[in-house]
């Protein structure tokens, strides 16, 4: 018997927790966690005989049920994958595979049958808002730039994704670079721009490679260059690599960086729409915004505006990470609740531990406590909760996460990534970190809370750019929802999550210990003594509080308590 089939690389499927994935088309069988040793069996059984291999199918950890078909898996079933769905259908390095799924149809439609004003109107009708975080309506932004005087005009794709734990832009760049180019061509046509830049960080080598190849192929096919599709419209796109400064994701800093200057935000007004790159009108949109444009043009603004809430339309990709079972890229309609994303799509918290908080918007965002799990995710609701949409990072935390430590972590990130221009941001984040560090290490004073609250507001109010104006959020939101935890750290010198090492020490609960030696083997310091089937003992002089014994113990016999030396002081 002979069978012919085509095996090819595809873009990211988004189900990171269960990768690598293999999907069969047209049957849509989906195999998860595939290893090289499974390949022979897959070829022999599924490719040749069309049999499903049960053990490679996704198994629901709660019910044990196995799912044959990809879109039956709960992780995919509840998503609305308008952008991400293309990823698995195309080879990112091959323009023909993008053309085969009607790629560049939107460019053809816009350039041949629509006027620039029509395109802008369509974007307005769609209600598309910037996916980079601030949520400015895209259609209006284009209109400002179109009306601005100056030539040439520029469009820029902001692919400088730098939030810890966020990687949705990277996934689109790596998996479907042509959709971004297509969006940029349409946007440039609407604005009247003749040059485009893709600003991508050099830490994303595959993204750089794929977008470069996509640009090359688009030139060869005639979607870029002079006289595109014979319409007389010229458009060139270049790739500019960033050196990885977080602040260069801020539009004015990004422009400075492309100009070859220090990546330092500038005063707005003048806005880039009137005076941007090289002093010319410039329009900057995020990767996801550009990738949404072709959909809006092909299927219509009113179709797109059908998804989402009253003020936030369409879908948003979130990178769901942290203590959640199904980590990965999740695309949902705006207005979906946190509960749906974390518990239905994400499959709940690892080991069914209690949910404590979810951080959105990365270092510029804030933590949302369990009582707001049912609030819808859109620009306005998030800002009411004291956080921001940001580019779409979503970090889930369980009860083993210390919120003071989380605030300290983000402040440490920000104090290194602030450009340093504004004193409020440079010194403010440094001082916030110092105070938070003191609190985490048991040196907190009761008046510290008022100080960091006042200082965090000052950082937000007095700073120039988006980074500084949101830099207080991690502190303010954790203070707002988890003040009791801060107070415990300060007054009782206690870290209930057991994260702040100077405040805790580990001990063996003698009636739970079965004497299995697991903790003893795990300890890198030889701090645990004890024999088989006898209660073990931790020597706190030697213990470095790494927590390996705590993680290794299967009978829950190791617990963390308040450190003794702290208790005595």
């Amino acid at each position: 018997m002979e069978t012919s089939g085509l095996i090819r690389v595809s873009g990211c499927h988004g189900f990171c927790a269960n990768g690598p994935l293999v999907v069969f088309v047209p049957q849509r069988f989906c195999y998860v966690k595939v290893k090289p040793s499974d390949v022979r069996e897959i070829i022999e059984e599924t490719v040749v005989k069309n049999n499903v291999i049960d053990r490679l199918l996704y198994r629901d950890p709660k019910t044990g049920q196995r799912f044959q078909v990809e879109n039956q898996i709960p992780f995919y079933k509840r998503q609305l994958r308008l952008i991400m769905d293309y990823n698995k259908r195309i080879d990112p390095c091959e323009i023909r595979s993008y053309l085969a799924i009607d790629g560049y149809e939107a460019v053809i439609k816009a350039l041949t049958r629509m006027s620039p004003e029509d395109v802008i109107l369509e974007a307005k009708n769609a209600g598309l808002r910037g996916r980079g975080g601030a949520g400015f309506p895209t259609g209006f932004k284009w209109e400002f730039c179109r009306k601005a005087k100056g030539s040439p005009k520029y469009v820029i794709c902001n692919a400088d994704e730098g939030d810890p734990g966020a990687y949705m832009d990277r996934s689109v760049l790596e998996s479907n670079p042509h959709s971004i180019l297509e969006g940029m061509i349409i946007g440039a046509y609407a604005i009247g721009a003749s040059v485009g830049y893709v600003y991508v960080r050099n830490e994303y080598p595959l993204a750089v490679k794929h977008i470069r190849r996509a640009i090359e192929q688009a030139y060869e096919t005639g979607f870029l260059g002079k006289n595109i599709l014979g319409t007389g419209f010229d458009f060139d796109v270049r790739v500019e690599r960033g050196a990885g400064a977080f602040v260069c994701g801020e539009e004015t800093a990004l422009i400075r960086s492309i100009e070859g200057e220090r990546g330092e935000p500038q005063q707005r007004p003048p806005f880039p729409a009137t005076k941007g790159l090289f002093g010319k009108p410039t329009n900057i949109n995020n990767v996801e915004t550009w990738a949404s444009v072709p959909l809006i043009i092909t299927r219509g603004g009113s179709w797109y505006s059908h998804f989402g809430t009253r003020s936030s339309k369409g879908t948003k990709i979130f990178s769901l990470v942290g203590k959640v079972r199904n980590t990965g890229l999740v695309e949902v309609a705006m207005g979906t609740t946190f509960r749906e994303i974390i518990f239905d799509i994400g499959g709940g918290i690892i080991d069914d531990r209690p949910f404590k908080a979810v951080q959105t918007g990365g270092p510029s965002g804030g933590c949302i406590p369990p009582e707001h799990l049912d609030s819808p995710i859109d620009y306005e609701s998030l800002s009411k909760l004291g956080t921001i949409m940001g580019s779409g990072g979503m970090i889930v935390m369980d009860d083993r996460t210390c919120m003071v430590d989380v605030a300290r972590y983000f402040m440490n990130f920000l104090r290194g990534e602030s450009c340093g221009k504004c004193l409020s941001c440079r010194e403010g984040t440094q001082r916030l970190w110092e105070v938070l560090n003191d609190i985490c290490e048991g040196r907190g004073k009761p008046e510290d809370l008022d100080l960091i609250e006042e200082l965090a507001h000052c950082v937000k109010d007095a700073s120039l750019c988006g980074l500084g104006q949101t830099a207080g959020n991690p502190v303010l939101s954790t203070l707002r929802y988890f003040r009791a935890e801060y107070e415990e750290h300060i007054r009782e010198k206690k870290c209930r999550a057991g994260v702040c090492r100077p405040l805790i020490e580990y001990q063996v609960v003698s009636d739970k210990c079965v004497g299995c030696l697991l903790c003893k083997k795990a300890c890198p310091q030889d701090a645990i003594s004890g024999e088989l089937k006898k209660t073990h003992l931790i020597d706190n002089e030697r213990c470095i509080k790494c927590g390996l014994c705590f993680a290794a113990c299967k009978s829950g016999a190791i617990e963390h308590v308040r450190a003794r030396e702290i208790c005595h002081t």
């Binding site: 340093g420 004193l423 110092e434 000052c458």
Partner: protein
């Protein structure tokens, strides 16, 4: 001519003015630090923040960089501005406690406590020297290096710069070290470091003056310390 209202006073401002220019025209004082006549506005110290717009949608902007806009309402002394300004001075003082200029500012705006651990950075990164060198002296010998906590001002690759003409303009405009560089004049000095046994310049001016190849020319390291004032 854009019409602006500053602290209730109406003004038809010149096009191209900043809010600071407009306030000066009206005789309203706004404290500044990184701003200096003859240098391009930069907006780094944030000391000149003013409240623009009407509450609750008002916000703080640096008046030295914000252009006058038609119909803009500005408040230079609202409680929000004052609160923020005091915190900014406290932050500055925290990093350069010895500066006379900063101490004077603190006294003027009644910053009475310093809740941060004092550091003696000897540079508040206001960028005056960088702009002075580039814009007035046409040297561009120094610039910012790094970002965030690692931000500093120095010559490229920390090597003596060929563009430097050793004019000393950078030191002249420095708000932080100027109080210290005038030699052992007890009346004008608040830091008192000139009176100490260690040459004051060694830590700091290695990077600037001495760096530029003229070791000893500023004089501080060779002047004998004077004890007990005059």
């Amino acid at each position: 001519m854009p019409h602006v209202t500053i602290d209730g006073l109406d003004l038809d401002a010149e096009r191209g003015w900043t809010l600071l220019d407009a306030a000066k025209h009206l005789g309203i004082e706004i404290p500044t630090l990184c701003a200096m006549d003859g240098l391009t506005p930069w907006g780094g110290c944030r000391l000149c923040v003013v409240e623009v717009g009407t509450a609750p949608r008002s916000r703080l902007v640096s008046s030295c960089t914000y252009p006058v806009e038609e119909g803009l309402k500005v408040r230079t002394n609202s409680s929000w501005v004052i609160r923020t300004r005091k915190m900014l001075i406290e932050l500055m003082l925290g990093s350069c406690s010895g500066s006379k200029e900063l101490q004077d500012l603190a006294a003027k705006f009644r910053v009475e406590k310093m809740r941060y651990k004092a550091r003696h950075d000897d540079c508040i990164l206001c960028g005056r020297c960088v702009r002075m060198c580039a814009e007035q002296m046409m040297g561009a010998a120094i610039g910012f290096i790094g970002r965030g906590q690692d931000l500093k001002i120095n010559t490229p690759f920390l090597k003596p710069s060929e563009s430097c003409r050793r004019c000393g303009g950078c030191m002249e405009v420095c708000p932080v070290c100027s109080g210290r560089c005038q030699g052992p004049d007890a009346e004008n000095d608040v830091c008192g470091r000139c009176a100490s046994m260690t040459p004051t310049c060694s830590g700091v001016f290695d990077d600037y003056m001495c760096y530029m190849g003229s070791t000893g020319s500023c004089g501080t390291c060779v002047t004998k310390p004077v004890s007990g004032g005059k």
